[in-house]
Symmetry: C2
Subunit: 916 residues, 2 copies
């Protein structure tokens, strides 16, 4: 859909020599680069030595595309007059054989799209102007090299790509010309480009011109104005190049934004030893320390610093590292230049109030600032800079909070694969990033091995097709988990995320061969049992070998603590944690949880110490009548109560929401013969009968089966036991003088009648316990999970019975989409690739659909109970986008795994700042 | 919650002797019985000889309960003056020893609650008045017998039950007194009550009085007014008796309605051979024929006719049956009385404009009409009466349509177990009534047996724990299906309902022993393989042996056709059918379907002729890449097209909605070793590899898995093949001059992007086929199932792409409740028993929850596409209540199994008539 774009009269904005037509906030019109150049050149606080130039606006780009690639009429005149101005400023003339002005033509969109669009340098060189250039620079080799580069770049970008002449085999003009260069070097027996003599280059230029003509059917243009317009058109054309379109799709950049074109006087850092090019940061992007930090190369161009062929030198002492510590600093090499640069970087940071990434060039002793932009930084640096700048008074509190992204904060919380090493290591497999952080260990394939190897002091990575509750000990003990099946909310992913454990799931290219104890990756790499591998759970990449990890101990990080204080002062949304036992609760408290939003009592039936309670649970499940069931429950009571009491105690008066038994019972019964025989002995029930009872528990769709409150209604004695454990604990602690705030939560509710039914049980038990204790001090709440679509729709009826709601968005997503989270591996990747869904609804809440159900439930619930407390305890509670959505919905709190609590707090604070 | 009821000044309404204070429409105030008595006595068109009496209003009942069981002050005065009036009319006096008036006291609620409340007869007899009674009747034996009965009834109803003195062991005063009678008879060696002499009865009366005093601590009251008030209070008290409360709960009768009390002069049909008691119907309730029909007994009381101890005689020639054909008719015995009775029945039917069920008594040559009410009738009679009465001009069209209940219409469509025989046969097992009608056959336990036995000419009932798609041939061939597992929407239930086949499911008390080829019922009855059983699928009851069935051939039933014409003139909602093949479509047309609302193409992969297409489907499913898949699809195309084309042809221009492939693919792959080996040979793929591919298809919750449009997106070539089959068929038929209206329906949609994706495929194929044919005449619609909660919520987005919606309420119910219909057996019975849900949401649509989602979807869908066609094709489309709900929602059509089409048409017409 093309709309006729508005276009203003002024299409070209000049900058340089202390003045500029534009300024920094005109990003939409001038693009990021253009606006920054104008700001640097023209702003009274900056007035930096920017190579003069001008920017053609993004509006021209849009005009270009909606008018069959033509330009507005007055563009030509404006460009010519801008060039005249450049000529005046530089004393050179564009196309002048005696003293030619050389220009670069670069793209510059509103948001940076690094490397996605085209650039042409050295425009203005032709067979005539090279003479003047040689005269001016006195460097024939340099000029011919520049001319050769112009011809190649121009032929490639303008004459071939922009004209749509790229051959399908990929062997375009650039490749052909590069081969010419290589064969010349080979013929002459040269090893590097710099071996080429001026005469060689002269010969190459001739060859290049002929080749361009014979391949593309047109000569390389000698008319410098034709060169310029060719360059401009090519940049605009590259906005709709394949790579750029794809990038915009991924980054969600609208097509209508368009790109600006920046035409700028060329400066050269490669004209001799009085020339320098470099990149610097106003603070250290690796650790956030407030020292000017950067690298430079003598006699080089910008891309040489990035390319990493020569080791760049440090600009000052603070910038030295192990590789560069012997090299001379810029500070000592060119003290005046350094001082000038230092002055500029101070101005820039003070002006932009953020750490800047600066490109600079010294051409024959004169310093130019080529570019400034907000510098990228890692998590530690981000937190440190935000708190430092706040304390320095450079930024206010809100800005400090907005500065740190949730992903950066997460980096702080977890060990990471050393990024410098990882960059140069090819990965062997790619899966879904289910549990962030890094982990290294030896490959094991079973739960038992994971445990026994760890006991022997080994670090292990547990590799499985899928994990099940029976694997939890091994998962817990392993450094990381790698599975070949399952999605972002598979068992492995959920459990790992809960523990803050590194985990990659759904790595479908992995072929696990348990017989031969090894796995094979897509490229045929075979990793054997006991071999080291390393996981980057943040990116979902696996590596062969033990890559080093970098750690960050949050407890010692004082800037982290300062930031979190600012965050807590700002946020309105409560943040609680989902836990499974008292030690989880302690971790959650340390991470700043303001309560427990979901205490899963069933956890005691999994894992290491579950033997006895699991046996009792199985006895209860497989009992034939209420009497047998009650006997088992009476014994089970002690285990349940112990966990609940300890958790209530840890949380000292903070709310603890205890969910009654949720999973279908058959999840707890053994399915293999061996364990069945064992159980048969222990329960003294013949195996045949056990098998029959277990079969009767089988369900085709357990997710939609006999679970949650349905169990509590079928077997009220189960509810009774749990309520007794909760209220008895609460009473005892109250008598010990410890404040408690238990909240009883009923899962999988569809109707208010279910709540009524369970309330009768709760009130019965409450009265009984009241008889033994002074319950007047113990207050508990009674509430409902909202995790079925019907519950959301009927919220006005449920709120009559429930004092609080808690959205179980995992199940709500499963049921509303009809997506089983265990089974989405079969189609979700296709859905995401084809943009049928824009994100995994189990990771980030589906605001359109699920969000609408939440809105309905909140509105209806509060319509009958205005003070209804509303929380969310699905996995989404730890996802920053979802947390912000929750804030905007007006719910009271989110609850997430302990390791996600700081992330949720940050997102909650940012949500406040993003209002309006 | 008791609210202070309003109460008017008049509390007592008299009737009799050609006048009445009340009338027939005062049912709320006088109860059904009281209002009818007033109407019969007082209405100028009737003026029937009703035994005089009076009615105490229901308002008194409510007053009684909200004032500690006290009465309004002026009640006493009104009752006394009403009795005075009765005394005047009868010339007798209440409590007069010389000529006593005897009264009955009966309950009478707004809606009949047969047998649920108490009655006291013969009030007014005491030690003094018996003398006058003997004097008046000249029948000592009769009077003492009546007195004995009064004492027993009064002691039981008034002195014990109403006083709350019932002993917990159930051995109450009635039982004690009955034992006295029995022991007297035993002592005297009498066989029946009538052997008792007046002296015996006199002795018994004495004994009764003493026993009452010693057991209940109070004497039987001699004060006749105390008797009367005791009776009245007892009737009011019985409104809140256990049985009555339970009955009201089931029948959804509000507690606030209360009961009236009817006090009436006693008349006796048992005072000699000039006395008669009888029951008559204004038309034959068994077949609907317009003849006066009834039975009577000489010298008997009303309950004797009902009790069936003596064979009643026919009132006229039309009423004779095989047992009564030799007995004298009332018409010949008492021609004048008969003529009078006939005159009254005519008046009653003309007045009430419906068939009446009349109780009458002749006391010493005088005819009394005791009661009239609308007569119950079976399905055949109901349809005949409604059309006859309409044609006679007795009722209008709307009344005729309202007269027939959907259940009665269903009786017409299916064979039934002969109700007369069934009444006297104990059932051996009770399950869920999944497929209505009756069926008899020999028990078989496997699909194969069902087929082979039927081929040998045997009728069989297939008895299974559960059925699966592999059983469909046996199910089809069997007379009926009985399963021990599964709910109302289990596989067996769904399939049976679709075929109109008799089926009972979830008969959990059945223990099937396949080893010994038999099953055992709860009471220990063992039914062996090959034994005859009979199923009543309407009630869910199974019987041993072959009970006779009564058939009704709809095609020959002209009254049915007349009724359906009236119905179709009235209804607005369209009714389509869900079919699986062309022969289904023909059946549907015969049942009046106006199109196909759901054509399930996957049916061809089940059942007898599925061998080849199923193999091709399996080949497609288990193929490794798109190429292999396309090869299989190309072959499969011919089968798919054949079915679609034939169905479009059958439906001659009526719309045919074709749903694209819906079930998860793994449903079609074999799981047992034998079939796998076979498949491995046929596909020429090693079994090990097949097993691996099948394992990869396994899903934990297939209902929420890779199915519906998710398949079409993962494998667009499957959609492509189906669309090609649809459009190619449509083109060919159009060229043959046959009108077609295909509608392409996408299943399991959650997002408009899915529809967009599939539309691209549809349009591509459409263009291709357009090239070969003149497609301008072929119109097709493109639409979406709405069966996920998210689809309902996002209906405004879906309606941009979809030209029609079809609600898949089965899945919508599953996902919104989180109820897997395969697994609800574990908890749904408890939910229904405990009134947590009021009905099975898979049988009758959950108007509160699912209904709300439908409303949202309709509103949102039509907001962007006002002419959006909306249908419903879940099982609910054949449920009358749900059909009415759909009419009220304003959707365009429902679609149900062919056998349900007439039911849906009736319900749709009734919905129009029920609109205010």
């Amino acid at each position: 859909m093309t709309k006729e774009p508005k276009i203003r009269n002024k299409l070209v904005y000049g900058f340089g020599e202390g003045e500029a037509d534009g300024y920094g906030t005109l990003k939409n019109l001038l693009g990021g680069k253009g606006a920054n150049l104008a700001e640097m050149a023209g702003h009274p606080d900056l007035k930096l030595p920017v190579p003069p130039g001008f920017t053609i606006t993004t509006e021209v780009c849009n005009f270009f595309y909606s008018n069959q690639r033509k330009y507005p009429e007055h563009l030509k005149k404006e460009v010519l007059s801008a060039i005249e101005k450049l000529e005046k400023q530089s004393g050179k003339k564009f196309g002048d054989p005696s003293n030619p002005l050389l220009l670069s033509v670069r793209s510059g969109a509103r948001q940076s799209m690094p490397g996605m669009m085209d650039t042409v340098l050295n425009i203005g060189l032709n067979d005539q102007t090279i003479k003047g250039a040689i005269l001016q620079t006195g460097d024939e080799r340099f000029v011919f090299d520049s001319y050769r580069r112009l011809i190649m770049m121009y032929a490639d970008v303008v004459m071939e790509k922009a004209a749509g002449l790229e051959p399908p085999d990929g062997k375009g003009i650039r490749k052909i010309l590069e081969e010419k260069l290589e064969s010349l070097k080979k013929m002459k027996n040269y090893s590097v480009d710099t071996d080429l003599s001026p005469a060689d280059l002269k010969e190459l230029v001739q060859d290049y011109k002929q080749t361009v003509f014979s391949v593309l059917g047109k000569p390389f243009p000698q008319d410098t104005l034709e060169q310029l317009w060719g360059g401009i058109s090519a940049v605009f054309a590259s906005w709709n190049g394949k790579r750029a379109i794809e990038y915009r799709r991924i980054e969600k950049i609208p097509n209508e934004w368009g790109t600006a074109v920046n035409v700028q006087t060329m400066v050269f850092g490669n004209m001799g030893n009085d020339c320098v090019t470099g990149v610097a940061f106003t603070r250290n992007p690796g650790n956030g320390e407030n020292h000017f930090y950067g690298e430079y190369l003598i006699n080089a161009q910008g891309e040489d610093v990035v390319a990493g062929i020569r080791t760049p030198a440090p600009i000052n002492e603070f910038s030295k590292n192990s590789q560069s510590k012997e090299l001379q600093t810029l500070e000592s090499l060119m003290p005046e230049i350094y001082e000038e640069l230092d002055e500029y970087q101070r101005r820039l940071e003070t002006h932009y109030k953020d750490m800047q990434d600066i490109e600079f060039t010294v051409e024959k002793g004169k310093l130019y600032i080529l570019q400034t932009r907000v510098g990228k930084r890692n998590g530690v640096a981000s937190v440190k800079m935000a708190t430092d700048m706040y304390e320095e008074g450079l930024i206010d509190k809100n800005t400090a909070i907005k500065r740190v992204s949730p992903a950066q904060l997460l980096e702080l919380l977890l060990p990471q694969v050393d990024p410098l090493i990882e960059k140069n290591t090819p990965f062997i497999a790619k899966g879904l990033p289910a549990g962030p952080g890094g982990a290294s260990g030896k490959v094991v394939f079973t739960n038992e091995e994971a445990i026994s190897w760890t006991e022997k002091g080994e670090k292990v990575i547990l590799v499985r097709e899928e994990t099940s509750p029976e694997d939890v000990d091994g998962m817990h003990t392993a450094q990381g988990i790698l599975t070949s099946k399952g999605g972002m909310t598979s068992h492995a992913a959920l459990v790992a995320r809960g523990w803050g454990k590194c985990c990659i799931v759904g790595c479908s290219e992995l072929e696990i061969d348990l017989k031969n104890k090894c796995f094979t990756t897509l490229d045929g790499t075979v990793i054997k049992h006991g071999e080291w591998i390393t996981l980057n759970g943040t990116k979902g990449l696996a590596y062969k070998g033990a890559l080093p990890l970098v750690n960050s101990d949050i407890a010692e990080n004082s800037t982290y603590k300062k930031l979190m204080t600012l965050i807590d002062e700002t946020k309105k949304l409560g943040v609680r944690a989902n836990v499974e036992n008292p030690s989880d609760a302690e971790i959650a408290l340390n991470f700043g949880a303001e309560g427990i939003g979901l205490f899963r009592t069933e956890h005691m039936f999994y894992g290491e110490e579950s033997e006895k309670p699991l046996l009792l649970l199985r006895k209860m499940i497989l009992s034939q009548d209420e009497k047998e069931r009650r006997e088992a429950l009476d014994e089970l009571y002690n285990y349940v109560k112990k966990d609940i009491k300890a958790t209530l105690k840890v949380m000292k008066g903070l709310p603890v929401t205890i969910r009654l038994l949720d999973p279908p019972l058959h999840e707890f019964v053994p399915h293999d013969k061996e364990k069945l025989i064992e159980l048969s002995k222990e329960l003294k029930v013949p195996r045949r009968i056990l098998e029959k009872r277990i079969l009767a528990l089988h369900e085709n769709n357990p997710m939609l089966g006999h679970r949650g409150v349905r169990l509590g209604i079928s077997y009220p004695e189960i509810t009774e036991m749990q309520i007794r454990a909760i209220l008895q604990s609460a009473c005892e602690l109250t008598l010990e003088g410890i404040e408690v705030r238990p909240e009883i939560m009923i899962p999988v509710v569809v109707s208010s009648n279910e709540l009524k039914h369970q309330k009768v049980v709760v009130e019965k038990v409450s009265k009984e316990i009241c008889g033994n204790h002074d319950l007047s001090k113990v207050k508990y709440l009674f509430g409902s999970m909202i995790e079925t679509p019907r519950a959301a729709i009927k919220a006005n009826r449920l709120a009559i019975e429930a004092e609080f709601f808690s959205f179980g968005t995992n199940d709500l997503t499963q049921m509303s989409f009809g997506f089983s989270r265990d089974d989405i591996g079969g189609f979700l990747p296709t859905y995401l690739n084809q943009n049928i869904l824009y994100s995994d609804p189990f990771v980030t809440i589906d605001q359109d659909g699920i969000g609408e159900l939440l809105r309905i439930a909140i509105e209806r619930g509060r319509s009958v109970r205005p003070d209804l407390k509303i929380g969310l305890c699905g996995e989404h509670g730890g996802d920053p986008e979802s947390v912000k959505f929750c804030h905007n919905l007006g719910i009271d709190y989110v609850s997430c795994s302990p390791f996600r609590v700081p992330i949720a707090r940050l997102a909650a604070a940012q949500a406040v700042l993003e209002e309006n």
